[in-house]
């Protein structure tokens, strides 16, 4: 083999390039914030903690050896964006929420804020291309972040591991079920599963009985063209008890997100105003979550009493 010319200079250039490539990444550490950014105004708050301040922070977690997974976290906070920790209590309940296909986590910011205003910690893991199915493992990473957060970060001691729930919209619901089924040794099972306009992957059907005893909500939109009510009804029938199927009357698929324009683009626009749809969705989700972590039930009776929500299968 012939030798390349440029001996000493080339060696120095290689050494410098190697040094820069090795040390360059070290210049910026992973984000493990101690406080968040306070979310603007209460807006259309429906949560029991109306008026409570909520803050958001973006965490970065080292995962799969060489990856960095971003997790957006919302939580009840003081005016400075520091978390409001329950005095001497076991920590706050938490919802790990998985984004729907092609919808950014920002699209669920409204829902996360509503849930956080009710005193919950909400974690939204970010996925490649906003398609959770490409990296199901990101949800596991977010779960570990909530249960074993970095020392000194705002999440330290904030979450009650026994009241960790998972949920997701659309494709995110499919992944949420997979996360609930991914029970790690030594971890408490998830306290509840919430599927918004979604249903389990048929490939997971054989493992679903292991969720028996875990309260599950299938929250469908009456006018959904992406996850039609009939399909949600059929596919959620395989979920073990206790499961409740609730229907948001008049709502459409993308009204679970912050922008329902895609419904109109697909010729599936709802006549229900987005704000009203959000109020119904947030009320139903919170009613279920509170019932699930407080008493292990689905809150079917309370769901039935909500305006614009009907329960089909308690």
């Amino acid at each position: 083999m012939r030798r390349a010319s440029g001996g000493g200079g080339a060696r120095r250039a290689w050494a410098l390039a190697g040094l820069l490539l090795a040390l360059g990444p070290a210049g910026c550490g992973l984000a493990q914030p101690q406080a968040g950014t306070v979310a603007p105004g209460a807006g259309r708050t429906v949560a029991p903690g109306a008026g409570r301040t909520v803050a958001a922070a973006r965490f970065e977690v080292r995962a799969r050896h060489t990856d960095v997974v971003e997790v957006e976290v919302l939580f009840p906070s003081d005016a400075a964006g520091r978390p409001e920790r329950p005095p001497g209590g076991p920590g706050l309940p938490a919802l790990l929420f998985v984004q729907g296909g092609g919808v950014s986590v920002e699209g669920y910011r409204w829902l996360a804020e509503e849930v956080a205003r009710a005193g919950w910690v909400v974690a939204l893991p970010v996925h490649p291309l906003d398609l959770a199915i490409f990296a199901v493992d990101n949800g596991r990473v977010a779960r570990e972040l909530l249960l074993a957060p970095p020392a000194g970060s705002l999440l330290e001691g904030l979450v009650d591991p026994a009241r960790l729930t998972v949920g997701g919209h659309s494709l995110g619901g499919v992944v949420a079920v997979k996360l609930a089924l991914q029970q790690q040794a030594g971890q408490a099972p998830v306290a509840a599963v919430a599927l918004l306009a979604s249903y389990p992957d048929p490939a997971d059907a054989a493992r679903l009985p292991s969720l028996a005893g875990t309260p599950t909500l299938a929250l469908a939109a009456e006018g959904d063209c992406q996850a039609p009510l009939a399909v949600v009804r059929e596919r959620s029938a395989v979920l073990p008890a206790p499961t409740v199927l609730a229907v948001v009357e008049g709502a459409a698929h993308f009204q679970f997100t912050g922008d329902d324009a895609p419904d109109a683009a697909r010729g599936c626009a709802s006549t229900l105003p987005l704000a009203e749809a959000h109020a119904r969705i947030a009320s139903a989700l919170l009613t279920f979550l509170e019932a699930a972590v407080d008493g292990g039930g689905t809150g079917a009776e309370a769901l039935e009493a909500l305006p614009g929500v009907r329960v089909e299968a308690p």
Partner: protein, 213 residues
């Protein structure tokens, strides 16, 4: 449930989007990931999606193979990689050829929890195209390869192993001392007790033939 609709255009779109995704990438050596033995020694600059960049040296062995050495910084994952690959030509018939690649990668993860890793990789490539520049120094030649890469990687903190599997499409154009390459890779990583992670990357390679003595 909102997922990509079936059909070729959607699949192509999804593939393109995957290549542009921030956390998706592949780590086997790339300079020697072709079926075609190069000729002149070259220094190469690598840049690609997701955010990454580096430098490399391609040292051919008179048409009998080539050694490629790469230093790459993965900005999205904040990881530094040193890769080396050896290309072994297997067969040649007219414009068609095939080659085996054997290589290794060393990782340094300086951000978050300090970590390091080692990987062994193998690839098999087939392709067709013109002759390398040394045989027609004034002309423009081009070559296209299609292949697969597989590896096994272990890390100091969490052993793994991580098993990357990739399909590789590589194009090379040589004009005088200028050497231009485009490599796209897609596939998945398998790891015990974890869901598979889908990966992809697109790399532009710009090389210059070094003077030899």
């Amino acid at each position: 449930v909102s997922a990509p609709r079936p059909g070729l255009p959607a699949a192509l779109l999804a593939a393109l989007l995957l290549l542009a995704s921030a956390p998706a990438r592949a780590e086997a050596p790339v300079l020697t990931a072709t079926s075609h033995p190069d000729t002149g020694p070259r220094v190469v600059v690598l840049a690609g999606l997701p955010a990454q960049g580096g430098v490399g040296l391609l040292l051919p062995d008179g048409g009998r193979g080539a050694l490629g050495v790469e230093l790459v910084g993965q900005l999205a994952g904040r990881v530094a990689e040193a890769r080396a690959g050896w290309q072994l030509p297997l067969a040649r018939a007219g414009l068609f050829d095939a080659a085996l690649q054997l290589g290794g990668t060393a990782y340094l993860v300086p951000v978050g929890r300090l970590d390091a890793g080692l990987g062994a990789h193998a690839g098999l490539f087939g392709g067709f195209g013109g002759q390398p520049s040394a045989e027609s120094p004034a002309g423009v030649t081009a070559h296209v390869s299609l292949g697969v890469q597989a590896g096994a990687e272990v890390f100091a903190r969490e052993l793994g192993p991580r098993v990357p599997l990739r399909a590789v499409l590589a194009g090379r154009v040589v004009s005088g001392p200028l050497w231009l390459g485009l490599t796209a890779r897609g596939g998945l990583d398998l790891e015990p007790a974890r869901a598979a992670t889908y990966r992809g990357e697109a790399l532009l390679l710009l090389g210059w033939t070094l003077a030899v003595r």
